[in-house]
């Protein structure tokens, strides 16, 4: 199969990770995946207010995902949407398992994810950025989380759909993955696939996550060198 941009079916777009891009934040990162650009900033842990929202035995990891108005062809209206609220929620679920939240009872860790430019895969780029930003903030973690999506076009399992591939695919399956625990922390799917294909696509995603994970670690090492 020939892909629009010449990639192999199991090849993701050029990935670039920069750590520490927001001086005010406790931790931050920018992730570019092809033309998709996400930034993440971590603030906290700080006391969670109002008090009645505090959890007595652990911190709350609060994620807020937003898109810059100019990030897409049709301008995005500012303010939360149903889509952004859901992505914020699944992002928090994707990251929470690897953070030692139990070390910070009654606290909140705020993770802000802003999409600067959107071209498929904004939620996975956001998770990749947020995972690195949490580590950059020095928050104790069991592991990093890597994230990517894949689908099936014709008979082929195809990684990191972009451009017109999104319309051609029979399904779009994003995952987030913690390599050390071999655990999937995010899984969604829209489409139409037999169960066996779902498994194949997830496996393709997992392999890619293991590579992204290496790039994440390298980016953090670069940062710590400075």
């Amino acid at each position: 199969m020939k892909r629009e941009d010449g990639r192999a079916v199991d090849e993701y777009r050029p990935l670039e990770i920069k750590v520490g891009i927001i001086p005010n934040a406790n931790g931050s990162a920018m992730v570019k995946m092809g033309k998709t650009v996400a930034i993440a900033g971590v603030y906290g842990p700080v006391e969670f207010l109002p008090k009645h929202k505090q959890l007595s035995d652990r911190a709350v990891l609060r994620c807020i995902y937003t898109m810059a108005p100019f990030s897409t062809e049709d301008r995005v209206r500012p303010g939360p949407s149903r889509r952004s609220t859901e992505i914020s929620m699944v992002t928090a679920n994707a990251l929470s398992p690897v953070v030692f939240l139990e070390e910070f009872p009654t606290s909140v860790i705020n993770v802000f994810i802003n999409i600067i430019q959107a071209n498929a895969g904004t939620r996975t780029a956001g998770i990749n950025a947020a995972s690195v930003a949490l580590a950059d903030a020095g928050i104790p973690m069991r592991d990093l989380v890597a994230s990517i999506a894949a689908g099936k076009i014709g008979d082929e399992y195809v990684l990191d759909l972009a451009g017109k591939e999104e319309e051609a695919t029979k399904a779009d399956i994003p995952i987030a993955y913690s390599p050390r625990a071999k655990q999937i922390t995010l899984l969604q799917m829209d489409g139409d696939l037999p169960p066996a294909d779902v498994k194949k696509v997830i496996e393709l995603n997992i392999k890619a996550c293991e590579k992204i994970y290496e790039t994440q670690k390298t980016a953090l090492k670069e940062r710590w060198k400075k």
Partner: protein, 253 residues
């Protein structure tokens, strides 16, 4: 709470549920057809103590610019405080939004609605299909209950007559263009086991959940993981279990 949790988990370890069910058993499922006369189609579904009514309303509106000859589907959810002491008044928050979006995707991605047949005048006017839910009692497993009630309500829907200017809701005759029967089944990880149809008490103690919406041909149309992590093996098992239970539920329609 700890005693309740221990009891629930010990039961599951021993291969049964706190209420005596097997791990893969649903509670009693009851379906009432068209309880709402003012809706174009409706259904009341009870799964154990969970009790929901779904109504389908049809209106007209403009199509989306990128889909000029497709009808529009709008699925909403409110967690009405009448149904649980944990639900609060006010605009929908993330729990309600996820519920609506998972049900929406199950219907939309399965291609269950022939949206082309809901076009009145391309680029100008199409049918808008509103799927709304009233939760009467939240006894656990709302996603499956809403999905099943939504599908049943759509199956019960008749199109009202439209003369180009006004909808005549007193005359509902033409069938609604439904093409598939997607069923959502949510598999939960409770301790180290996978179970279906969690009760309200079980839901508080699950590690993770995976909602799998399957089509009549057994294909998966939508997935949504909630809660904590799952291994690939657990996901495989959950999908297989959902396919099986989905068929059982579909046979009730």
């Amino acid at each position: 709470m700890n005693i309740q949790k221990e009891f629930i988990l010990r039961c599951v370890e021993e291969g049964k549920r706190a209420d005596g069910r097997g791990l893969e058993d649903f509670r009693k499922v009851e379906i009432e057809h068209n309880p709402i006369e003012n809706a174009e189609g409706s259904a009341r579904v009870k799964i154990g103590e969970t009790d929901v009514i779904v109504g389908v309303k049809l209106g007209t509106g403009e199509p989306f610019p990128d889909k000029p000859d497709d009808g529009v589907l709008i699925v909403t959810a409110e967690l009405s405080p009448i149904a649980s002491p944990k639900f609060e008044p006010g605009p929908p928050r993330e729990g309600a939004i996820e519920l609506a979006r998972v049900v929406d995707r199950g219907i939309r991605e399965s291609g269950s609605i022939d949206t082309k047949k809901l076009c009145i005048t391309p680029k100008e006017k199409v049918w808008c299909v509103f799927v709304d839910v009233q939760i009467i009692n939240h006894g656990g497993n709302l996603i499956d209950a809403y999905s099943l009630a939504a599908l049943t309500a759509l199956m019960n829907t008749k199109m009202p007559e439209y003369d180009g200017e006004k909808i005549d809701y007193s005359k509902k005759t033409k069938p609604f263009p439904l093409k598939d029967k997607p069923i959502a089944v949510t598999v939960c990880k409770l301790g180290n086991s996978l179970v279906v149809d969690p009760s309200l008490e079980e839901e508080e103690h699950i590690e993770a959940r995976l909602t799998v919406t399957t089509k009549e041909n057994g294909n998966v149309a939508a997935l949504q993981k909630g809660g904590g992590p799952l291994s690939l093996e657990e996901i495989e098992k959950a999908i297989a279990l959902s396919v099986k239970k989905g068929k059982e539920l579909r046979s009730l329609l």
